[in-house]
Symmetry: none
Subunit: 228 residues, 4 copies
DNA sequence: CATGAATGAGAGTTCATTCAT
DNA sequence: AATGAATGAACTCTCATTCAT
């Protein structure tokens, strides 16, 4: 789910647009240390949350000295950026098997949602982290937005396509419908895989039921035919 | 990757469940000071965000000494609780005029969504704050959940009712459908009224178009009859 | 003596023009603490030099907690500013008794130089500090410049006056001559009272001989008549 | 106030008296690297000032690795020493053409001052650096002192000579007069060529006017005859 | 000799919380 | 009840120096 904080809330220091400023390590040893830091950072971030993570926690986890951190990153933001960039691939491009070959819109839709939900589940901790950090840092809000927009755009094209083929409700704006329906799925994913996994915050969820429900609602919402 | 979410991320200090611990002020002067603090807190929270707000900012805004804060609240969480409790009414019970009288499910649905979206827009800054703080504090996550569940429950009853009346798709679980569709609307509201209002984070939104779209999608999703 | 560093050498952070930003203490206790800090700062600065002074040294000397420093000053610069402002009076306006009554230019000159040298000697440690810090901080360079200019201007007027009265060499530009001669005296003072007092850095100096020499050279340089 | 100057201000680590400890490089490659470091150091020192210079800045400018620095120098002081020693010649022995042949004391004096001022101007950045570092490091204070004393001694001999020839005021101690007058010229040079070149710190100066003025004042101060 | 990563002590700063007045 | 100064733990970041390759 999407969440945010008052615009002016963050003092915006000069920050790089989510790309490493420090030059990459030249030696093998350097690469190893950097990798250890990124891995440690991910672990600690996911465990303690972005805000409660001290840089010392990361270096400790990585097994290196506090100062070594700054050989590779300028601050907490930059490690997180590195963590996210490293995981970006799997988060962005779920890849959804062969089903696309079919002509059955419902089957395609279900496959798409399945891929999305699976990827979300796989990266749930990271998604939780992203949501948290997006509340606090504009740069990561942008990152999240890029990710969201990728899905929304893809789905909007799918909807427009169905409309052209005459199988989807032509009354709705494809873009806005995509925003709404994609949002619907992402909220469900967040609730199921982020909150649902937490003690006392939510109940565990039946993956298939979730998938079927959102798919059906989505199909209905577009008035796809058949599939009573 | 597995999906245990950052449950432990927040050090959980002994905290009261969102109700003031401190006994209420006895004197008039005390009541005035407390009120000033709550009002100031809301203003500063909305302006600077929860995390960037220093208690000193609040007392300064309230025009009282730093120490006075502790006469009424134990910490930042408690003021925020007070702020939210004070605003709870309008956030929770939008109240939606007389339309409920009609039998037209679509009209009822639209009225309900209108009321929700209007309330969201009215309290957008507070909602933003709530989302932010929910990322950081379990107690406020619970608060948010109570609010969300109220809407979800209400909508689920509506859906079940329509199903019983035979006008809604019986294949979907009313509760889960309500989660999905309510979530859909809340995401749209968040994007429109929280992110949409921020420079460079989102475009301003046409309220009516938003309302019509989500209502239509909702109606379609349930296969409500009629309406073209 | 005047000394400085390459212009670009100092990263110039937004700094206040040598005036306290923090609001002054309201209570007696506050005033006491602030005063203790200024006094401690002066002592430590004079003992350890500006650069080697840690804020912790100052608070320790003042007998208060590290954090208390920031109640009154934003950083090291600001305390030093406070120290200098407090001592400014005596450094700037030596006050030189009754001699001004006479018409004898030489006597006036000697009295003036005596007052200057005495004041310099009295504040030697502070002058040393000022020289040191002027090498490092533009704002204090300005401060030093204001002080220097005050003397130079005063002396330039004296020289011009003598020229008008026909007792001083009219060939020299009064302002530039004042720069040169005032500079001459200040170098001598620096060498005598700052360096001269240090072990192995210079020999102790006979105050009267110093005074007589610079006065005679000054008088000669302007071709004042009489005096052998 | 008393006048013990900040003698103890600098922690005095075991330091060599401004001569390279490290043995000179044996290979050609080594000599090249060392030279590159010295050159880079001078550039960076002059640009950023001694204190703000990081060893990393120097090695970067020299195009070699951080660790290589320690092959040739033990620390920042030592490079600076190397820099100064390399430039010492031009700073110390201006060389002043043929004018010394004349008997006209004024001409000799002017030639001497011209040579001094030209050398100062030529090495202004280095002089600025020296002044800065002298404020901070005893060893460089000694270096500066040796330089200053060379000039003072030379000028004192000149003055004594003139006194013996009966053309200079015999009432002043040649050594002290030399200190004062040499100091006068050096202050003027510092103000003109170091401060004068900086934006907003001083106005640019007319070299010839400066030369004529200090020379005339100097001549007058000694009561040299002629030259009205 | 050169490299460049690793180290870690140490400094400045923030701010929730306490407490004497 | 109110005040506002005092506290000090906590954290980030710098950079001279070392050392394995």
């Amino acid at each position: 789910m999407d969440t945010t904080a008052p615009e002016d809330s963050e003092k915006a220091p000069p920050m790089a647009p989510l790309s490493s400023l420090r030059e990459p390590p030249t030696t093998k040893r350097g690469a190893r240390t950097r990798a250890a830091l990124v891995q440690a950072a991910r672990k600690v971030f996911e465990r303690d949350g972005y805000l409660d993570t001290r840089l010392a926690d990361i270096t400790k986890e990585a097994g290196c000295a506090a100062g070594s951190f700054y050989t590779y990153f300028a601050n907490k933001e930059e490690v997180l950026a590195a963590v996210l960039l490293e995981a970006q691939e799997d988060m962005l491009h779920p890849g959804m098997g062969r089903v696309q070959d079919t002509d059955d819109p419902y089957a395609v839709l279900e496959a798409s949602n399945r891929a999305y939900l699976q990827a979300y589940k796989r990266n749930a901790k990271l998604m939780a982290l992203l949501e948290q950090v997006a509340q606090v840092d504009r740069e990561f809000r942008k990152f999240r937005r890029r990710r969201t927009d990728a899905f929304i755009g893809r789905n909007a094209r799918g909807i427009a396509d169905l409309q052209e083929r005459g199988v989807a409700d032509r009354e709705v704006d494809p873009m806005m419908a995509s925003r709404a329906l994609s949002g619907m799925v992402s909220v469900m994913a967040y609730n199921a895989f982020v909150l649902g996994e937490r003690q006392e915050e939510g109940a565990p969820v039946d993956f298939e039921k979730l998938l079927v429900t959102v798919t059906r609602l989505w199909a209905n919402a577009l008035r796809l035919p058949g599939h009573r």
